[in-house]
């Protein structure tokens, strides 16, 4: 009886982010005539690109019911080192590779803490978050670095008329979507997040899977850092700060569950990231009080997590073991 009410409600919750997106477009569109223009929209997409890439990596981790709080710190360390190298005259390509390498390394540290030392992901990555920020500050001497124009040129470059950051983010999304839906690795990730106990019993390589998601998330953070640099052109001591919350919010807004096993990169996480940036962009357009921003962001995070929790609650209710087989049920 209850089950029959739960399913439509579940549908409704799945639909909530799309509804929110439409509402955001309508409200800001009505308040500012510059908001719903093609130029502004391209701008929003470019601004979303670094968040989207980091959030894609985060989605991998969230699918296994883990979390990676260190992504912003990884971005900072990567940007700090790459910035120093660029100022010392190293070629751009080497700087880019370094950022990705730092991401991979950061992910590897997280993976070891989670799989070998069996630390809870939240605690392990909280530790690496502080280590990373500390290292970044030490590398940059807490001074802002203005990078050579080659970084900014990267941000404004175009391929086939599409801004380069968008192309890169698009490629990442495409590859991630393929990995998650078309490879054994991807499908096994969903299984692991759904029921880790059964996954072990079924003989899935759980340690390898967990290691891989933190590596993926680290590399995505490195790449996200590069995209952010290409728009900012400088590394400040606050570079990458709170990116972990943007990434988690984007993923959860897009329907990825914090409880694991549920979520998609496209449209899910991408939609979440664009939605988040649209709201920021809209707030600027309507010249809202900057002190309101944190309140608005936090209420969005709260709403997204509330929806996720409600949904998981309903799923549990639907899947609860029955003692009696009632006539007419199912």
């Amino acid at each position: 009886m209850r089950a029959s009410n739960s399913r439509p409600l579940l549908r409704l919750l799945d639909f909530a982010p799309v509804a929110l997106f439409v509402a955001v477009l309508l409200v800001f569109g009505a308040m500012s005539d510059k908001f719903l223009t093609a130029d502004n929209f391209t701008q929003i997409l470019v601004q979303s690109s670094s968040t989207a890439v980091v959030a894609v990596g985060m989605t991998f981790v969230l699918l296994t019911a883990g979390v990676d709080l260190s992504v912003g710190a990884i971005m900072f360390v990567g940007a700090g080192i790459a910035g120093k190298m660029a100022l010392a005259g190293q070629p751009l390509s080497l700087c880019v590779l370094t950022m990705l390498g730092v991401g991979l390394l950061g992910g590897a540290v997280n993976a070891v803490l989670v799989t070998r030392f069996k630390l809870v992901a939240f605690i392990a990555t909280l530790a690496t978050l502080y280590i990373g920020r500390g290292m970044g500050r030490w590398i940059t001497q807490t001074r802002a670095m203005n990078l050579p124009d080659s970084f900014l040129a990267l941000g404004s470059a175009k391929g086939l008329g599409v801004p380069l950051p968008l192309l890169i983010a698009g490629a990442v999304v495409l590859i991630a979507q393929w990995v998650l839906s078309m490879t054994p690795f991807g499908r096994q990730l969903y299984a692991l997040g759904n029921n880790p106990d059964a996954a072990r019993k079924a003989g899935l390589p759980t340690t390898r899977l967990l290691t891989a998601v933190y590596l993926v998330c680290g590399v995505c953070a490195g790449l996200g850092g590069l995209l952010a640099l290409s728009q900012l052109g400088s590394v400040s001591p606050k570079f990458g700060e709170l990116y972990e919350f943007d990434a988690i919010t984007a993923a959860v807004l897009g329907g990825t569950s914090l409880f694991g096993g549920r979520g998609r990169v496209f449209p899910g996480t991408v939609l979440g990231a664009v939605l988040l940036k649209s709201i920021f962009n809209g707030l600027v357009m309507v010249q809202a009080d900057p002190y309101l921003y944190p309140l608005i962001t936090s209420s969005i995070i709260f709403g997204a997590v509330l929806i996720d929790s409600l949904r998981s609650h309903l799923m549990v209710r639907l899947g609860r073991r029955k003692i009696r087989v009632e006539a007419g049920a199912n």
Binding site: M182, P184, A191, L204, L318, I323, R324, A329
Partner: protein, 527 residues
């Protein structure tokens, strides 16, 4: 090569069974759960394994699956010694399990569940799932188990019975030759059962060996070719199914002499049984009136008298623990009412504790104790509000200390244990005494006990029985849930039997009969 059936290497029969258990022994913490069990499962046979809760069935299964290793004896598969170290070894040996609680991933499609560790790929070394091959191979397996669904259907959309069939399809996909089914019918409707039985029979006819574990004796007698009966870790009977009758099976399963000692039970002050219901409130401390919760319990009514020890018997999954959780306010119920001393019982567990209800759960480690906290802290937990009466609610440590000391003596906690010792370091029996002491400190009007003596040595059991009787003698009502019928017969004034979320039998002390109680637990018609 000589293929004559009776060659020297196979002396016993002309065809050795696929799976052989030989003189298997296994102990846990010094308690023997399997004592030299031997039997085999042959090609094209369905062997039924029956026994009461705790007879050793699940241990045997865990040995076969590689989750446990035997202390002595030998397992053989296809004539070779078989020593699995993990579930993977079992799979490699062609053994598949269909468990009561299914191991499917509800967020994936049927096809993905079937081939999760062995996806068909577009090319060797190319990590790209060949969706078409996946779909067609899954469809073929689904056809074999008679499941009419698209392979792309998400498992979470399937009812329990069809998930069971997917598990079997998975076994077929892994090319298993031995399939072990553990209580496969507990959550199935009768139509789903029929479908499962037809499939199992068909698999047997295709030459598979099937081991079928179930409490549903009617099903076992109908479906199986051979039967093995376990009791207390020993094989007490085996042979062709036609040599067994329902009644004979039941008496073999329970036919043991009482080997535990129970304290003598004085006549209770009052009981809430049918006779006394005639009087207006019958002295009942707890009245349960037609409570129902869809999918869990239906129309449960009973009374618990002051000073009465009421037992609830039934098999695993009969809804006994769920009933206790509902009474304690942990789970909801849709209709009906519960009264404590004549007044409606509602609200949170906290409120119910205040009104005099106590609940010792079946899992003392997770739910009953703070394992890292001290004995004193655990004992004092429920009694804290009574020891913080000043307006500022400061704790009265002297009062708490004297209560702790009093309760330690009352429950006869081992003298070696100090008040500050962590509960984790205690034996199971002493841990349970701490939980019991915690509740006794509030002098409950009604105490609910769920498997109070599970995993506890005989001496501590006796003392816990005594405490239960003492509490009842002081006028409280005690409800004891236990899987051991003997235990309930030893300590209760009255026993209710549950099956499928309903009460299917009621027995008074002078009317206790092991076989009839078990019969009521197994099928409602005979109650």
């Amino acid at each position: 090569m000589d293929f004559t059936p009776n060659n020297a290497e196979r002396p016993k029969t002309n065809q050795e069974p696929v799976v052989v258990f030989e003189r298997i022994e296994k102990s846990f913490f010094g308690v023997k759960v399997l004592q030299g069990v031997s039997f085999g499962v042959g090609v094209g046979r369905i062997v039924g394994l029956v026994g009461e809760n705790g007879a050793g069935k699940s241990t045997l299964m865990n040995l076969l699956g590689g989750n446990l290793q035997p202390d002595a004896g030998e397992l053989r598969v296809n004539g070779h010694r078989y020593t699995p170290r993990n579930p993977k070894d079992a799979r490699a040996a062609g053994i598949a399990f269909v468990h009561q609680e299914l191991n499917l991933f509800s967020n994936l499609s049927i096809a993905e569940n079937l081939f999760l560790t062995d996806f068909p790929l577009l090319g060797i070394g190319v990590p790209w799932i060949d969706r078409r091959a996946l779909r067609s191979r899954a469809a073929e397996l689904l056809r074999q188990v008679g499941l009419d669904h698209s392979p792309d259907t998400l498992v979470e959309r399937l009812p329990a019975g069809e998930r069971q069939l997917v598990e079997i399809a998975k076994a077929l996909g892994a090319e298993a030759r031995v399939i072990l089914l553990d209580e496969p019918t507990t959550s199935l409707s009768s139509r789903e059962c029929e479908r499962l039985f037809a499939l199992v029979t068909q698999l047997r006819d295709r030459g598979m060996a099937l081991l079928y574990i179930s409490h549903a004796l009617g099903d076992v007698l109908r479906l199986c070719d051979d039967l093995v009966v376990l009791r207390d870790g020993e094989r007490v009977g085996s042979g062709a199914t036609k040599d067994f009758t329902h009644d004979r099976l039941v008496s073999m399963m329970v036919g043991r002499q009482l080997n535990q000692i129970y304290p003598e039970r004085r006549a209770p002050i009052q009981t809430g049984s049918s006779e006394s219901m005639a009087s207006p409130d019958g002295g009942a401390v707890l009245q349960v009136d037609r409570i129902s919760q869809p999918g869990i319990v239906r129309d449960l009514s009973f009374k618990l008298g002051a000073g009465e020890v009421l037992g609830i018997s039934g098999l695993m999954g009969a809804g006994r623990s769920e009933l206790a959780r509902i009474l304690f306010g942990l789970d909801p119920f849709a209709s009906g009412e519960v009264r404590l001393s004549g007044e409606l019982l509602t609200g949170s567990p906290r409120e119910r504790i205040r009104r005099g209800l106590a609940f010792l759960t079946e899992d003392r480690r997770q739910e009953g104790l703070c394992m890292e906290a001290s004995i004193a802290d655990n004992l004092a937990l429920v009694g804290l509000p009574a020891n913080s009466r000043t307006p500022a609610r400061f704790l009265d440590f002297t009062g708490i200390q004297s209560a702790v000391t009093r309760m330690r003596e009352a429950v006869k906690l081992s003298a070696k244990a100090t008040d500050g010792q962590a509960v984790r370091t205690l034996s199971g029996g002493n841990q349970q005494k701490v939980v019991l002491g915690k509740w006794l400190l509030m002098e409950p009007k009604v105490l609910l006990l769920d498997e109070p003596t599970r995993g506890i040595d005989v001496g501590a059991k006796f003392e816990i029985y005594q405490l239960i009787h003492q509490l009842a003698d002081r006028g409280a009502g005690v409800l004891v849930i236990s899987s051991e019928i003997e235990e309930l017969m030893g300590i209760c004034d009255r026993i209710l039997v549950m099956r499928g979320g309903e009460i299917t039998g009621e027995f008074r002390r002078d009317d206790f009969d092991r076989e009839r109680i078990l019969a009521a637990a197994l099928h409602s018609s005979k109650a």
